[in-house]
């Protein structure tokens, strides 16, 4: 399936979960927050959320600012 991750289109195996995606994409999940199609995906749900083709995932963290 095709997912849009932080604005980039990426191919992923069908049935992949958020946890899979994060593991495959980021060096660590510390300090990470995730939104799927404009909704917050709490850390506790990552392992259970099965992703679907075409979804937009935002992977965020805190950076210097303000």
């Amino acid at each position: 399936m095709i997912l849009t991750i932080n604005g980039q289109r990426r191919e992923f195996a069908d049935g992949a979960t958020l946890a899979d995606l994060i593991a495959a994409t980021l060096p660590t999940d510390r300090g990470v927050a995730v939104a799927v199609d404009g909704e917050v995906a709490p850390r506790g749900t990552w392992a259970s959320v099965a992703l679907r083709d075409g979804q937009a995932i935002e992977l965020l963290t805190a950076v210097q600012g303000g």
């Binding site: 932080n6 604005g7 994409t25 980021l26 060096p27 300090g31 990470v32 927050a33 995730v34 939104a35 404009g38 909704e39 917050v40 709490p42 850390r43 935002e58 992977l59 965020l60 963290t61 805190a62 950076v63 210097q64 600012g65 303000g66």
Partner: protein, 256 residues
């Protein structure tokens, strides 16, 4: 006598709140944190860049500084609320500096969206620190919906113009039932001192320190200025007089 700042039930060890934006390097942030003695710093939520090494969070943690995530760049209540929720996930705090700006030129807050977002975030259990304009009526409404502080601007973000309308800041302070934090506009130490003399409980600034020619030196200057302004406010300044008043004895002059 103790004079600690208490916000949202938490004691803060400093009345200087720092934004970490604008610093040229983590090294500078590290120096600035050490120099300022700040206890609360803002951070922004952005897309993860896997290539970046070293996190501002580590630097802040190393200095034992509390985090105040902001919603910088958000234009609508919806964006701001979602960003606040993501920040809560990421850094595990329910404190949020609420910014809802109207455009990228003025970076001025949008009263309508700001108030809407504040109400929703309070309902969702957040401790909301709204970045607002200097309208005393909006400040009043933000308190009514449950914000734990109000943070009026002195001048546009990054302008360094100081406090353009001290009269409004005084009006806000006069009726505030939560801490008032002067946010945005501070350019130099005397601006920060003035904010405190007007009765503000704290000052939040970023560019004035991070973009100064010598950030660490300016951080010390700001910490001293905030302390000075606070003390002057408590000490009770002399009234302004149109006419002079001698400070040396007017009697006992020799006839020479």
């Amino acid at each position: 006598m103790s004079d600690e700042l208490v916000v949202a039930g938490e004691k803060l060890g400093s009345r200087l709140i720092l934004g970490t934006g604008g610093a040229p390097s983590m090294q500078v942030i590290d120096e600035v944190l050490a120099a300022s003695g700040t206890a609360l710093c803002t951070v922004s939520m952005r897309r993860i860049d896997p290539s970046t090494t070293g996190s501002v969070l580590d630097v802040l943690a190393h200095h034992g500084v509390r985090l105040l995530p902001n919603t910088a760049g958000c234009r609508t209540a919806r964006e701001a609320v979602l960003t606040a929720q993501l920040a809560r996930e990421a850094v595990e705090t329910d404190w949020v500096k609420l910014e809802v700006i109207a455009d990228d030129d003025t970076l001025l807050p949008d009263a309508v969206e700001l108030l809407d977002a504040a109400e929703r975030l309070v309902a969702d259990g957040f401790k909301v620190f709204p970045y607002t304009n200097d309208d005393p009526v909006l400040a009043r409404r933000l308190q009514r919906v449950g914000c734990v502080a109000v943070m009026p601007l002195g001048a546009p973000i990054g302008s360094g113009l100081g406090i353009l309308n001290p009269h409004n800041i005084e009006l806000i302070v006069a009726e505030a039932e939560v801490p008032v934090v002067l946010d945005a506009g501070v350019g130099t130490a005397s601006d920060a001192a003035l904010a405190m003399e007007l009765g503000c409980d704290a000052v939040l600034l970023a560019s004035a320190v991070t973009r100064a020619q010598e950030p660490a030196l300016m951080a010390v200057a700001m910490a001293s200025a905030v302390a000075a302004g606070r003390l002057a406010h408590r000490a009770g300044r002399i009234p302004k007089r149109e006419h002079a008043r001698a400070s040396s004895p007017t009697t006992g002059m020799a006839v020479l």
